[in-house]
């Protein structure tokens, strides 16, 4: 399967495809709760945030949606969380925590999947380096 070739961890951890492929949005937008835009510096990016692909700018971008850096990935009552992935010090991907403890990722222009946090670690996205949270939206 194409996904498992790209993400070998998906062959070792259970995952579920939860959407058809679409180019309407990407991982950063999806994690930020947006499903009609493709968020990336140089594509669409909050005006108040610098366009360099740095961890600081991604934290600020998620900050425009109310997210703040937190201690770790563990679920916290009343909060939703995001994991930011980096490869070689450059942000590559974000996933959001689902109520059932799995993580939800939009894979570029491909599918949404539900997966374990470790399942996407590897050459494509690197690994999670930072976690953010915000109070659950009413």
């Amino acid at each position: 399967m194409h996904l498992v070739r790209k993400f070998p961890g998906l062959g070792e951890h259970p995952f579920e495809i939860t959407s058809e492929p679409t180019r309407d949005y990407n991982c950063i937008a999806w994690a930020a709760g947006v499903n009609h835009q493709f968020w990336w510096p140089g594509v669409f990016w909050p005006k108040s945030v610098g366009k360099q692909e740095t961890r600081e700018n991604f934290v600020k971008a998620f900050g425009t949606k109310g997210y703040r850096v937190c201690d770790g990935p563990d679920p916290e009552e009343g909060y939703e969380k995001i994991a930011l992935y980096e490869l070689d010090g450059v942000p590559t991907h974000a996933a959001k925590l689902l109520p059932d403890g799995r993580w939800s990722s939009k894979l570029g222009s491909s599918n949404d999947i539900a997966h374990t946090l470790e399942a996407l670690n590897g050459d494509q996205y690197g690994e999670p380096v930072l976690f953010l949270k915000r109070a659950l939206q009413a």
Binding site: R23, V43, W45, G108, S109
Partner: protein
């Protein structure tokens, strides 16, 4: 180069009325082709040598495009999308490939618009279309029609 010493055969089969049936058209084209080949032989040329070459290799473009789509489908980073041999091969085809890119984008919007940026040096996408692939591609197609 043809010399005036050569005796070439003119085509004398032009009908008074344009050919209207496929048989008439086929016959006319066959006759013209035969005379053209004979005249080329007379001046030491071959039909292959004078055949107009296509502006670009469409098959190569489609192969590169499909390879790039597959390789970049999990990427969000434009720099990663651009950092692919097939993407670079498409950009190196230059302005002659722009109509083929436009045709592909019209059929199926994709990040191939990045190649239009790199080939033309323009970015006609209005700010309110940023992040919206369909609106981005529409802006490019409108710009290319001008």
């Amino acid at each position: 180069m043809a010399s005036s010493a050569h005796t070439l055969t003119p085509y004398v089969g032009w009908p008074d009325d344009p050919p209207s049936t496929s048989l008439q058209i086929d016959t006319m084209l066959r006759d013209i082709s035969g005379i053209a080949e004979a005249n080329l032989r007379t001046i030491g040329r071959t039909i292959e040598a004078v055949r107009v070459k296509p502006l670009f290799d469409r098959e190569a473009f489609i192969q590169h495009y499909n390879a790039w789509l597959e390789a970049s489908c999990f990427d969000s980073l434009p720099v990663h999308m651009r950092n692919h041999d097939s993407y670079r091969a498409i950009v190196q085809m230059g302005e002659r490939i722009v109509p083929a890119i436009a045709a592909e984008l019209r059929r199926n919007p994709s990040f191939l618009f990045l190649a239009l940026e790199d080939i033309t040096g323009h970015d006609p996408v209005p700010e309110d279309a940023y992040g919206n692939l369909k609106a981005t591609v529409d802006a490019w197609l409108a710009w290319l029609r001008k």
